[in-house]
Symmetry: C2
Subunit: 147 residues, 2 copies
């Protein structure tokens, strides 16, 4: 198994970051404009669509405003069986986000791409919460020939 890990610090309250991770409006503001559904209750499905495809996430754990876990319900084959976690904690004026995309079967080239792309989207989350403006798909920063 292989994992993608990231850490960003956001100058805002944990509540503000949590909202950006659990509401349609928040998620559409940093990950993809084509987001359908809120992620504010366990069991809910959030639909994320991109130019090239998309994912459905099932919310499986919520501990407001400190922890969120999603399971990939549908998506590209490499994402099936993987889990995504956001752990939030306060550190001075920052809310630290520890991000994990866990349990990739193999460290395939697509995983390398997704790792870099997650960093870009987490910086978009930081920007959204700090300044009110993120860079969600299709306005996201492009990293390679895949996106």
């Amino acid at each position: 198994m292989a994992d993608i890990l990231h850490r960003v610090g956001i100058r805002a309250s944990a509540d503000a970051v949590y909202r950006a991770l659990t509401t349609q409006q928040g998620l559409a503001g940093w990950w993809t404009s084509q987001t359908k559904g809120d992620g504010d209750q366990v069991g809910k499905i959030i639909e994320f669509r991109f130019g090239a495809g998309g994912f459905d996430m099932r919310v499986v754990t919520l501990t407001p405003p400190m922890f969120i876990r999603w399971e990939v319900a549908t998506g590209p084959e490499e994402w099936l069986g993987t889990t995504i976690e956001f752990e939030l904690k306060q550190d001075g004026e920052y809310t630290i986000v520890l991000f994990k995309h866990l349990d990739w079967k193999e460290p395939v080239e697509f995983m390398h791409h997704c790792s870099t792309k997650w960093a870009i989207f987490l910086m978009s989350l930081k920007s959204l919460v700090e300044s009110g403006k993120g860079n969600p798909d299709p306005h996201d920063v492009k990293i390679d020939n895949w996106n």
Copy 2:
């Protein structure tokens, strides 16, 4: 063991990317302005210094212009025993860089930070090679309260 993986695509020749990864001028243009030494021969040591500390890397493998491997010679405790690889390959008009920072003993919080920070620096490498201007330390994009 845990690994950091990334993928960026650079609209330039593999030779140009390889130069940015094996010369003092190139490395100082995207990673840290305080770079001392070239990385163009196996056995050489490159010194990288940042505001908060630094690393010395030993060049252990070179296959111009497609593969570079460094061992961490000195650096923070968590980096000792780890290895850094850059694999380059052509894909249409892009040179794809598959980056690996391998063999972390534990997936500590500092590893989460370094994973995001590597993505930022690889985007700086892309920018340097494509446009002539990167964002090396101390002009790098800050991601959290650690840097």
